[in-house]
Symmetry: D2
Subunit: 450 residues, 4 copies
């Protein structure tokens, strides 16, 4: 029997709090899970700095990757049983696509790095590009496993991630506005944070999903279940992912790494010793192998090393991050509001903080749902509902709730500053900076800048 | 108002998946949570290597510590409302004990270190001694906060942990066979692993717990709820805490650290550079400050550094640990069975593995419950049930289930060896070590040595 | 101690799947629960015919009433602890209102009868009027208990139900767009049906609710939790309460009772014997005592008796109801569409069904939320959010989701007819009514009339 | 296609709170669910008088029957996939047994009647005999459906229930110490009562169950899951099913029906009018058709009618039952203790209660587990665990917990009496029966007779 078709004599399972069990049936999948690149995801948290706000959310990309795989596997089973191409002809599911789908589901996040988005932004890495690199570089274990399936298979899996794979059903299962990835992370993040608003009815969605010629669609009878998923997604964004405290920690992390990168040019020896695995990134010249050595714990370890640095900003920022001292914030309406932000920034500087490392603006926005807009920068695959007679109707046409969210970015702009600006007692008029503090505070009302 | 009595104007809460919310009402508690020693617990996993078996179990001692605090707080509220010393006289609860109880609950695990038990064993640290040190050393933030409450308060909290505190109610709430610590970890570990057998009825236990003169007891009407807790505890031990795969990883970790310690004497420079924070422990001469810098991520980072070591055993063990390649095992009946273990160990050596670093015996046993035995090495506070008329009856007298478990250690002895001994294909008689492998395998039947 | 102030020495609890425990602290509440009028609610299902669609939903108004009481009790506790009139002055909570609030919460549904809405409609009873009657009639046990509290207390409780009670906080806790009643039934109905969309975050809502001068409001920080409650409510209406099959059973029930009432005038003896407790209602002349004897089981029992009736319509309708044979339905756009409905009705008549008893139109609509409209027929108390500085803002001003639902009735119009019209095989052109059936079926496409 | 093989083009589902969905795939199963005999189970509560203690437990035998079917269906799927006779030969699962298994699972409780055990005891009906009668009587819809499958099929299904069916795998799936019936009712009763101790890990049990030549067995690796199921079963018995209050209501119900039966001989006309459907049972001469007309609501309705009876005992007992006034109780050690029980009974009589209708002894015992005892009155199929090499080991050999419960009946003997004996105030020595009451009370200490 070829490696591709090698099925485990007895299904292997992993206990999972969200899906109860992850069921592994192919030797290929088991080998991928055991590869060092997938095991590395155990050391990368799913939610980055969010665990500073929701202390339960310490889960990793490893468990999320297994979860996405499990949802994809369930969908393949349902498609094969109810809507195979043999049964319903054109628009039906071709079960030959199963293995590529499962591999893409399991590996879709393989390129994520330490403190993902913050790190990427600063060091110009890109997790999708890294994913493709890991899948298609002959030195990785993942590549070697995929290549045993058949020549060209690693590239095939990569093309699903980049959305170039020809079968739109496979692409949309892995990446669309309602895909296995999003379904798992909403449920998983809700479970681990302990919030209830991320919960939607996965079982019901799995009952109404169905393939069609140009991708995946949902029975009209499941409209409210899909609608509920969109609302859950919206709630998770505004209540969890955009939480001001997590963003305050993220800003601090970004400043800390920026300071280190800045200092590296002056004290390369110090960083060669205290942060050897980061050096290739400070130098802006790294190999895939360098990238694969980083994880959240490595960065934290170097921050502990830096507590002894003689640069007062570096060690203060490291201390604030490790001991969870987030920057505070207030919302503001428009990034155009330069004068106000400048005034506040000067106040921060006046009382002694370097504004480059102690203030920031941070804008977090997301589009909970959108229909297809041909001229948009990045157009989206819209969610299609299927009537009994096969007619397709775009979701926001029949859901007032989704119509209310469609095309409306949700989120806010925030100005971040040290908590000392508002929390310490500077009320005595003998305080040197009494007036500066008072002026700063007068600009904040009901949590917003005025 | 004194610091001791300073109550937050509005209760502060933390979302928690197990208890829904953690409620903080005292400024002291909030300050303790924000101290660097407590924040450090965010970087130490609750279950060590168990997450290699149960991938969801990535939770930390930080969330557990908050949970123990929350359970203790609930019990104080219930005691104060229903069984205060004012209401029921002798044997009643004195609410003056609340703050010391809450602090001890929150801080009971503050001395835990990276990969706790493994590390302790190898480097002769001791988490309880470290806890006392952290509570009573003037340089820690925890000490400084506790000392603001009143002089001697840090030592008072420490004496609860060491069970020397005069009020047995307080001591037993924090440490007994059914205390806030165990109640939280059983529920939390069950939640995060996703198993269901750790679940018991906390709400019902909280309804039946009550103080008496010599500690805490439970209404007879709650007997079955207490019984169910004992059974859950037993199930978690045999199914989760003693899982053979986690122990296989733990053995590997222990070997890895032992190898590094061994090599340090020959290559101190290499370790000064690749593992600076571990050096004081290799030297067997460390300060509290050194201890507080370690966490799980620091060890993992150094293991990543060691992947480049030129010692083949060190880098192989590091690779096996990071990429989750556990040693395999089989049970054996008695540690006295020397001849068999020696034969197997020789076989492992014969095919090329250094048995010091690639084999081990590991015995994991626990007493799910015991009644008080005056002559036992470490006698236990037994669980007392209270009849309507105040009579106390020890739990195993009325529960056949508990009687079955009382005094009976549960667990097993296992011999660990490299998976290569049984999993690779050595069936060809041309294989150099064919006979050795076949002999080794003949000793294992139904998972046990024979 | 007066009866009013009589507190149970030990709190009494009832196990509840939704709230874990119902906590009873006053003797008055315990006595009310034990009264025959409250016990009678054990024999009246919460959701009427919905259990024909969701078979798990067999819960009763008794458990719902306890649940509403428990939520109200929780809110009183929170208000007393955080927002008492002593602490915050005007707009604060006066704990003297606790008992009237708890009684109104427990008793708000006391006037519900067998198969509530259907029965009311047909026999012109009214559950709110019955509630007031039960509370204020000297012969009821409920009245006698309330009257022991103090003279006029029964009327006081009744005035909360009728919204005439002077304290708007009390009135709104029991009856507003987000009150203890709705919060309990959404969670309870979701639990018992097994759907997940009715779940919202009760714990979080209880954390952000607060009294103000003119009623109850919610902290701005809890906006998304309130928003999520509104969405859950909407989902429960469209997916559970308006389910076409339950409405098909309800239509059948209504027809069955109407037929019996019609026949009563001709065969009074038969109904005196087969349905004695219904006779006062057939006569349109009943006493409170008659009303209190009815429950769901009484009606079902009489339907079983009627299986032997010699009226073919009565026994057929009884059989269809008992054996769950719902009428089928299709949606239509406007009740003005007379011609189409008439044509379909004639077809039903033509094949032999009396259209009075075998067809119906049924329109189910609900307003998920509305702001205050002074000129509306029945204006609603809008939901107010409170900023840090005390400013109030109406919910739909800050929530795009709620704005999308505000003032928009959700639901549909349906035409009901016997399943024989579409499900039996009448395809043979030899069938006498072949053409009629085919014409009927041609009017239905994708579940709607065309 | 024959009726037997007729599979629904699209699977039909019913929402279920315990199993999420019930999946129906065969036309036969759908027709059985829609039959009047199965629909009748909607009107019979699963737990009889237990809902007087656990108010949430209002679920019916209908939902339980669907649940048993669903578990059986899951097991058939697993057996077919992993252990089919084609794959593993002798001892494997023959999927030809699927339909008979599913029908037996769905219909195993079809013969249950109103307030099952109480009614049976008094009127010498027997639910198992009724089940067989319903399955095999040509006038029932169930028979007609089964008979369409093939001649003899109704008898085949019946023989599974009576354990005479030749394939022991099928018999044990439906009826053994760990069967689909018990698994569903433990989970369902736990869900609806809201207790947590009935919960066990169904998913894990389904993973380890496997067929063997003489029935069903469990992998040794699942030993602890099976052990946990036995403990859950034990906990549900002692905490829920044997609850003293529910038994107090059951005793009252039994007395009430006995009184009616007694009176019938004197006042047949009164009962012909007030309780027509019960008359055949009073006469001890009933047909299957009579039996099928009874349900819990019918009995309750007649109790309401009897509130107007001129027999003071009948109407008082009816009032006590409808308004939930349970008899009180105390435990006693041995039914041989005649003198004490007689003394107490006389006291009850002395203060004016007819002891036949106001006292009782009630003994509730269950064997949580037993191994096979060839000479026992009713020997049990023991639970077998399977080692990797196929060896079978009986459960209590390897589980200390199960060994502790095996063969040990759990439960108690209780003496029931009117609450007036202990709760009213008779402390005045002027009270006529003061001494009698005081003597009675002196016999009860810590809830037990002394």
């Amino acid at each position: 029997m070829s490696y591709k078709q090698q099925v485990l004599p007895i299904e292997k399972v992993f206990r999972d709090p969200v899906h109860s069990y992850i069921h592994v049936q192919h030797q290929v999948i088991l080998d991928l899970i055991n590869s060092r690149e997938v095991q590395r995801l155990r050391r990368i948290h799913q939610l980055g700095t969010a665990s500073f706000t929701f202390h339960g959310a310490e889960h990793t990309r490893f468990s999320h990757s297994l979860g996405v795989y499990e949802i994809a596997r369930n969908i393949c089973d349902l498609f094969e049983r109810n809507y195979s191409i043999e049964q319903i002809g054109i628009g039906g599911w071709d079960d030959e696509e199963r293995l590529v789908t499962l591999c893409a589901a399991l590996l879709h996040d393989i390129g994520h790095g330490a403190y993902s988005h913050t790190f990427e932004h600063l060091f110009q890495t890109d997790h999708e590009a890294q994913t493709v690199a890991i899948l298609t570089s002959p030195e990785t274990e993942v590549y070697q496993i995929l290549n045993r399936v058949e020549a060209g298979f690693p590239e095939k899996v990569a093309s699903v991630i980049t959305k170039e794979y020809p079968n739109p059903q496979v692409v949309q299962l892995i990446s669309s506005q309602i895909d296995a990835d999003r379904m798992d992370y909403l449920l998983r993040d809700a479970y681990y944070t302990g919030v209830e608003y991320g919960t939607f009815d996965l079982r019901r969605i799995l009952r109404v999903i169905r393939p069609y010629e140009h991708g995946i669609s949902f029975s009209m009878s499941g409209m409210h279940a899909v609608e509920d998923y969109i609302v859950s997604r919206y709630q998770m964004y505004v209540q969890v992912y955009f939480h001001p405290t997590s963003r305050g920690m993220e800003v601090g992390l970004s400043h800390l790494l920026a300071r280190a990168k800045e200092l590296y040019t002056k004290q390369p020896d110090y960083f060669d010793r205290s942060a050897p695995l980061l050096v290739p990134f400070f130098k802006e010249h790294f190999q895939l192998e360098d990238y694969l050595k980083l994880d959240d714990g490595v960065l934290n370890t170097y921050f502990i090393h830096w507590l002894e640095s003689d640069d007062p900003i570096l060690n203060d920022l490291a201390r604030r991050f490790l001991n969870r001292k987030p920057l505070k914030s207030a919302t503001f309406l428009s990034p155009q509001d330069d004068a106000l932000l400048e005034a506040l920034t000067s106040a921060v500087e006046k009382v002694g903080f370097n504004p480059t490392y102690y203030t920031a603006t941070n804008s977090s926005f997301d589009l909970p749902y959108d229909f297809y807009r041909p001229n948009a920068k990045s157009s989206r695959t819209q969610i299609e509902l299927q009537e009994k007679d096969g007619t397709l109707i775009e979701l926001s046409h029949v859901s007032a709730l989704v119509a209310a969210l469609a095309g409306q970015s949700q989120g806010d702009h925030r100005f971040y500053f040290p908590r000392e600006m508002i929390h310490e007692d500077h009320s005595s008029s003998y305080d040197l900076f009494h007036d500066t503090y008072m002026q700063f505070r007068a600009h904040i009302h009901n949590g917003a800048l005025i």
